[in-house]
Amino acid sequence: MQTFSIPKSLKENMIYTFCPGCDHGVAIRLIAELLDEFGLKENALTAASVGCSVFLYNFLDVDCVEAPHGRALACATGIKRAQPDKFVFTYQGDGDFASIGLAESTHAAARGEAITTICINNTLYGMTGGQLGPTTVLNQITTTSPHGRNREYHGFPLKMTEHIALCDGTAFAARVSLDSPAAIIKAKKAIKKAFEVQLKGLGFGFVEILSSCPTNWKMNPVESHKHIREELTKVYPLGTFKDLTEGL
């Protein structure tokens, strides 16, 4: 019996172009597996972000519109309203979602758009060389905070899932990680719920994925996962912060 095969929603014979050990590959595979399970491949549309997450459209075999930096949810709102029968999702980095795109992101959640958003939080701007972002944790060294994030100078990091969970339009908000096989299985369950709230028309579905960036963190992939498990989860606790499906 085959216990693992490559999901059909991924393009045939594609090879990921991410750095070694980058969690983007796992996150995209989980989305593809769920598109397969729900039979949504032909019916899905996505608005791509800017950042390493943009490569989604090279790997996933679904139609996609490229949005300007941070505006994926504004584009996705248009797509969903024009074609309400389609399954619409966005796949964004933390810089895209919570920095340049915070207004679009928050308002899409507050309006309760029936869209699913997967946000990859690697605590910095990965694609442009590892600058400080809104999610960079205190004391973290990045190229624009060489002495570490300082609370007097840079302020505190933004907690996206808690923030999105406070919006009345949000139907599901959870934070997960991909640092071990068990965590990956839990992450898939959370993304599945975020898909379901859209399919049931309950509102905005959001999953933040704590994700490693070995290249910019200057750690090897195994150490990066240990760092997520032992350090990042202290600042960004894992769990479900809002779930409207609970009482159903």
Binding site: P20, P214, P221, V222
Partner: protein
């Protein structure tokens, strides 16, 4: 018999599968891959693989293309 299929062209030597395998049947080989580091290989001489697929679940590059139980 349980087995896995590794695509050497896709392995980027991150070794997350080596870390994930509960039976330690994935080892670092002597063959260097495209990143310059040695890629992994499946060594099931003691028949310890159970086909649990935890390696494939952890692989960020889909280099473990198939797992059979």
């Amino acid at each position: 018999m349980p087995n896995i299929v590794i695509d050497p062209k896709k392995c980027k030597s991150c070794y997350l599968c080596v870390e994930a395998c509960p039976r330690k049947v994935i080892k670092i080989s002597n063959i260097s891959g495209k990143t310059g580091s040695n890629i992994v290989e499946f060594d099931n001489t003691e028949n310890k693989c159970t086909g649990c697929a935890l390696c494939a679940i952890s692989c960020p590059d889909l280099a473990i293309t198939e797992v059979n139980k």
